[in-house]
């Protein structure tokens, strides 16, 4: 066990545990909050792996923006506060989902481990400077493309929000 191992195990365990809570809790709002914990722990993992820039981006974008957006969405859709069972799926489906999820996790882990082995490897995250050089050198065109994508997504979200949709009954009346 190296220091890296210890640190990563702690961060990973927190991340996984909170992720588990996020998908299993009956409180809708808690679900989003546990997601925050999970993602923050994940950024810890990134730190351990030497990708400090990615970790910061993760904190900023995900925790700072995305999850907030999710919380807003929950509130806008009048998510009930406290435990709610109205959106529970049938037990069968949950069982199937559990099996599938577990199987996927096992499958993925097995495949990845068998692909990369369990050797001790040096962690080489590189400096942020090197990353920046690459990002605005080699990867600049995809990067620019992504900025365009973000813009399009923004406009699309705006357009969706302004769609002239009423309630079901009024919509039906409108069609008639």
């Amino acid at each position: 066990m190296t220091t890296y191992d210890v640190l990563f195990t702690i961060a990973g365990a927190i991340s996984v545990a909170s992720a588990l809570l996020a998908v299993s809790t009956k409180h809708l709002i808690h679900s989003a909050l546990w997601l925050i914990v999970s993602l923050v722990a994940l950024s810890g993992c990134y730190f351990v792996l030497g990708a400090e820039f990615v970790a910061l981006v993760q904190l900023l974008v995900y925790v700072g923006a995305v999850v907030i957006l999710v919380l807003f969405a929950l509130m806008l859709t009048r998510a009930p506060i406290g435990r709610s069972h109205e959106h529970d799926t049938p037990l069968m489906q949950r069982a199937a989902a559990l099996v599938v999820g577990a199987a996927t996790a096992a499958l993925l882990a097995t495949v990845l481990i068998s692909a990369f082995g369990n050797d001790k490897k040096r962690v080489d995250g590189g400096t942020t400077h090197a990353l920046a050089t690459r990002l605005f050198g080699t990867w600049v065109w995809p990067f620019e493309l992504l900025s365009a994508l973000l813009l399009v997504a923004l406009i699309a979200a705006l357009a969706l929000a302004r769609l002239p949709i009423g309630r079901r009954d009024t919509a039906r009346g409108a069609v008639k």
Binding site: H87, L98, A105, R167
Partner: protein, 101 residues
Amino acid sequence: MIHSALPMIVVGLLFGIGLYGVLARRNAVLVLIGVELMLAAAGLLFVTVGSLTSDAMRAGQVMTIFVITIAAAEIAVALGVILAVFRARGNIDMAQAGERE
């Protein structure tokens, strides 16, 4: 120095949990949370592989940044859709999503 199996196990678990979340939830926003977890798992895999193989292109980290960006875009659109659906139907229950009017 780090054992390369550790990150891989975390990746597998996160992805599996995310998949469970997608499959087991009816609320669309919660499904979206599952999707986020799966994306996070993908990002972690990128970073792990990038860091452990010391890639001169830094492709692992760059890709993760891209994934995060795309995730942000995706969630913006997805939430827009969810809100639109909510306005149209009064709920965001996935179990009723396929039913015709």
